[in-house]
Amino acid sequence: MTPASPRNQLLYGTLDLLILRTLVYGPAHGHAIAGHIQRVSEDALRIETGSLYPALHRLEARGWIAAKWKTSDKGKRARYYRLTRTGRRQLAVEQTRWQQLSVAVTRVLRPAD
């Protein structure tokens, strides 16, 4: 595997966290997940929506989310992802890690008291 640059890694981890977090509200297809992430972050996190899919499939391969073909509200067939039990556990782990990280970053950025 090609070694990812630190920025990429951060982005990767973030994206995974965001996907897992999104799926807490229930199963959703890729487009809906992308839309939700954009809406919630108030377009602050603009991602190329396509890059969502490698992440989704990677999470599936790890067993954190599971996928199933279902008919959407509009009557079209779409691939719906849902959080698995391990995924839920993983989400907690990632969230903690993220919070620790963001606390640390905030502390660094805050001017010395």
Binding site: H29, G30, A34, G50, Y53, A66, A78, T84
Partner: protein, 910 residues
């Protein structure tokens, strides 16, 4: 974890479906995205374009997503196997060579191990809880006085006489059951329709004891083993098929043995042969069969009526306790009345597995042969494996460039190793499939050659054979790839993409080593062949005494084997009847002369022992008991036995004249140590008057090759004072027939003439002495053929291997040879150089192989004729010579190529 695995498996099985799904997923996303924009007021076209732009590079994303799926191991395997097949198709010749040799190696071994497993490991089929069944091994001292047996040695045998056997059946908490059987050859029916069958006489409990169920009808039960009951018989499945066809037709028919008619009441399952490994045709109740054969005397002691006993251990009973109990029972019985004093009252009984081959007696010759054969085929397998490894090694060397490219493309060392292992495994698996075919074709012939009378399972490809093939394929596939894979994965072997020179020397030690191993194994097989061939030749040229070429023996009646010594209800043949038969046979065309004897040549059948004393000697000086043969005066002449001293019998040696005897040379030598035998005095059957030795005749083969057993001859016309012996001479008679042409042509007319004269007589037994002799030396012939075929294969493989290695070396060094030419080396110098290399490799092989063969010689030693040494210098020299010659021949073509190297091309290249 499990989910992950399932995901990976699924992703590997239907990658193509997943690709389509991913496309669907992306298409759905783009459609949704476009729809959102259309709702926001964009035109459909622009909305779609923007959606695509927003999405990013579709192809790249598809790639990245696929990467996320990962390569499942199974998928890698499929890819590697496909690569391996591609390689095999490209090198069809190489593939064929490897697959064929390996298939032969495995295919010969698979039935061999099936056979060994049946012989030594698996209990006979259809027996309930065979682990609890025990064979009894009795060791007892033979009394010196007993019927002229000369030494007081101990013998170990899996048989008991009836009174001993009866002692076992007494109540014992350690034993759940007792059964016994006795197997012999018997004749069913009479006259020309008579057939010889293998018959087992069994105690009433026998089938219940074994726990076998019939496929039709019922089996012999306890109440059938009673003289008051109707005589019944059960038959084997093979005999049912051969004789009757369906089971319905078999049931209710009758068989007739020794004037008793048995009703066939049941058929046994296929493959059943009781606790014995050799096939049985018919089972009869002991009481009926033994009484018909022996009268009531079989129950008495000392009648040589033996029964093979089996016990079933009670659950939880230990072997030690049970054997102690059985020994105690036998000793207690022998201490009682009815047993002669000569009996060993200290006999011990040991328990052994149901398989006779695992008993305490040393392996007999016919059991050793399969073991040796398995050893030989295993060496062939080794040779094939080494050959394959060597060829694979050469392939790696030749593919250096390809491997270097693959390495550069990121396959990695592990990947290259994996590639080679996969290739070798695929080759081995392919060979395994072909091997199963080889085994199916040759397996049956192989085992019938090695052990003709064994009760084999119907299918030569049993679970053991298939299992062996599987294991062999895996083991060889991995082992063979080991050296090439290590060599290829070593970076030095693949780093030089640019050069085709220099790297060729890499791996050479391994290749040379493999060639030496191959040559050594070939030498082992070659010297085995030579040793066996010398044994075979010696056995073939042994003087059997008899002029065997045009000799036929006809054993009259069916009384070979057991005989009715006592309780004989009127001997079936009297002298006038025998004379009439002799006259009739004499009238058959191509018959030159006919003689009579009580013991038929070269079979040992009909041998009789009498109490014998030699004047002037306290005890018999023989290693084995001398047996007596009663003959007519022309016997020596017809059989082609030379009188060495004195005279043979004449018409004057008859009742009332002086009693005379002729002894064979072994007898004379052992009794009188080269001093004249004529005029010596024998006392036969406790007679007070002397039987004078009038001549010495050359030894003739009866049991062993070559014969050293002492034999003495008495004239039939003078009879015997011992009623048992005179009864013997009246029922045990063989006609010895000298023919003008091939004895085979005379067999049927002789039998026809006899049947015409006495249609009601039981079957006569005709034997052709040359055929019989051939059967006698079967072990050595089979051994020689087996060794020779294996050695040929091994030498061929060694030649191929050597040729390949030398030729490869020459090709790689062509440039160097050119330069040598340019510097003034002569063509003959180069030729000699390459030949010397081939010779040196073979010589190393010969040295290693000779050492290995000397070590292995101990295993074949007991099989060789007449105690010949397996360390025969001539045989080893011959083996070495053959291999060295082959090696020089195999290196000749590459050597010539080397000698023709072009100096100009080499210089231009510099």
């Amino acid at each position: 974890m499990l989910k992950q695995l399932r995901f990976r498996l699924r992703s590997s099985w239907d990658r193509r479906r997943r690709d389509a799904e991913l496309d669907d997923e992306i298409r759905f996303h783009l459609a949704e995205e476009a729809e959102v924009r259309v709702e926001a007021g964009l035109s459909l076209e622009r909305a779609q374009a923007e959606a695509r732009r927003n999405f990013g590079n579709v192809t790249l994303i598809r790639e990245q997503t696929r990467e996320a799926w990962g390569w499942a191991p199974v998928e890698l395997l499929v890819k590697d196997i496909r690569d391996a097949f591609r390689m095999m198709r490209r090198n069809a010749g190489y593939t064929c060579a490897v697959v064929l040799t390996l298939a032969l190696g495995i295919g010969l071994n698979a039935p061999m191990y099936e056979m060994l497993s049946r012989l030594f490991l698996e209990p006979p089929p259809h027996i309930e809880e065979p682990d609890r069944v025990r064979r009894l091994w009795v060791s007892e001292r033979i009394d010196p006085g007993d019927r002229g047996v000369s030494t007081g040695r101990t013998w170990v045998v899996d048989a008991l006489q009836w009174l001993d056997f009866n002692a076992l059946t007494a109540d014992n908490a350690l034993i759940d059951g007792v059964a016994g059987h006795r197997v012999s050859f018997r004749t069913n029916g009479r006259g020309q329709r008579a057939e010889n069958l293998t018959v087992s006489w069994v105690t009433g409990e026998f089938f219940d004891f074994l726990g076998v169920a019939p496929t039709a009808g019922r089996l012999i039960a306890t109440e059938d083993d009673d003289l008051a009951a109707q005589p019944v018989a059960v038959i084997s499945d093979a005999y049912r098929r051969q004789r009757f066809g369906s089971a319905e037709e078999a049931l209710g028919t009758t068989l007739s043995f020794e004037d008793v008619t048995y009703l066939v009441v049941g058929v046994l399952p296929p493959g059943f042969s009781g606790p014995r490994s050799n096939a049985v045709d018919v089972w009869l109740p002991l009481e009926h069969a033994a009484t018909a054969s022996r009268g009531n005397s079989w129950r008495r002691y000392g009648t040589t009526f033996y029964l093979t006993p089996f016990i079933r251990l009670a659950p939880g009973a230990t072997e030690e306790a049970a054997s102690a109990a059985v020994t105690a029972a036998v000793r207690a019985a022998r201490a009682g009345s009815g047993f002669p004093d000569s009996l060993d009252r200290e006999a011990t009984v040991a328990l052994g597995p149901i398989l006779r081959t695992r008993g305490p007696t040393t392996l007999r010759r016919h059991m050793r042969l399969p073991l040796i054969a398995a050893g030989i085929t295993f060496v062939v397998l080794l040779v094939a494996g080494v050959n394959m490894s060597n060829l694979l090694m050469l392939r790696v060397a030749a593919r250096r460039r390809e491997l270097a490219v693959r390495y550069a493309l990121g396959l990695g060392r592990w990947g290259i190793g994996r590639l080679l292992v996969t290739e070798s495994l695929v080759l081995a698996a392919l060979s395994g499939v072909v091997a199963l075919g080889v085994a199916a074709v040759t397996g049956d012939a192989l085992r019938r050659t090695l052990l003709p009378s064994y009760q084999w399972a119907e299918d030569p490809l049993g679970a053991t054979a298939v299992g062996f093939t599987g294991i062999a394929v895996l083991a060889i596939g991995l082992a063979v790839a080991l050296a090439p894979a290590v060599y290829a994965a070593r970076s030095r072997g693949i780093e030089r993409l640019d050069s085709s020179r220099g790297a060729s020397a890499l791996g050479t030690p391994v290749r040379t080593g493999l060639i030496v191993v191959q040559a050594a194994l070939s030498v082992v097989l070659l010297s085995g062949t030579a040793v066996f061939y010398r044994s075979f030749e010696a056995a073939r040229q042994v003087d059997v005494g008899y002029a065997k070429e045009h000799l036929l023996t006809v054993t009259l009646g069916s009384f070979h084997g057991d005989t009715r010594l006592d309780g004989l209800d009127g001997a079936p043949l009297d002298e006038s009847a025998i004379r009439a038969m002799e006259a009739r046979v004499r009238g058959v065309p191509e018959v030159l002369d006919v003689a009579q004897g009580t013991s038929s040549p070269m079979s040992g059948g009909g041998a009789a022992y009498a109490d014998l004393r030699i004047e002037g000697l306290d005890r018999l000086p023989f290693r084995s008991s001398p047996h007596v043969n009663f003959t007519t005066p022309n016997f020596f002449d017809v059989a082609g036995l030379d009188i060495r001293e004195g005279r043979g019998f004449t018409e004057w040696d008859r009742e009332g004249t002086r009693k005379v005897a002729v002894v064979n040379a072994s007898f004379a030598q052992q009794a009188w140590h080269g001093r004249s035998a004529v005029g010596r005095c024998l006392f036969v059957s406790g007679d007070a008057d002397c039987t004078t030795v009038v001549g010495v005749v050359e030894p003739a083969v009866n049991w062993t090759l070559p014969e050293t057993d002492p034999v003495y001859y008495l004239p039939i016309a003078q009879g015997s004072s011992d009623p048992a012996l005179s009864g013997w001479t009246s029922i045990q008679r063989a006609l010895i027939v000298r023919t003008a042409g091939s004895p085979g042509r005379v067999e049927a007319p002789v039998l026809g003439a006899l049947a015409e004269l006495f249609p009601e007589l039981p079957g006569h037994h005709v034997r052709n002495l040359s055929t019989q002799f051939a059967a006698r030396i079967r072990t050595w012939r089979t051994g020689t053929r087996l060794f020779a075929a294996s050695a040929m294969l091994a030498v061929l493989l060694a030649a191929i291997g050597l040729y390949a290695v030398i030729a490869f070396g020459v090709r790689q060094r062509e440039h160097e040879f050119g330069i040598r030419r340019a510097l003034g080396a002569r063509a003959s110098n180069l030729l000699r150089m390459v030949l010397a290399r081939g010779f040196a490799l073979a010589a190393a092989g010969v040295a290693a192989g000779t050492v290995a063969a000397l070590w292995a010689s101990r295993f074949v030693e007991p099989l060789l004729f007449d105690g010949r040494s397996p360390r025969d210098p001539l045989a080893f020299a011959a083996a070495a010579l053959v291999l060295l010659t082959i090696a020089v021949m195999a290196s000749f073509l590459p050597a010539r190529r080397a000698s023709r190297a072009d100096p100009r091309r080499a210089l231009e290249a510099e």
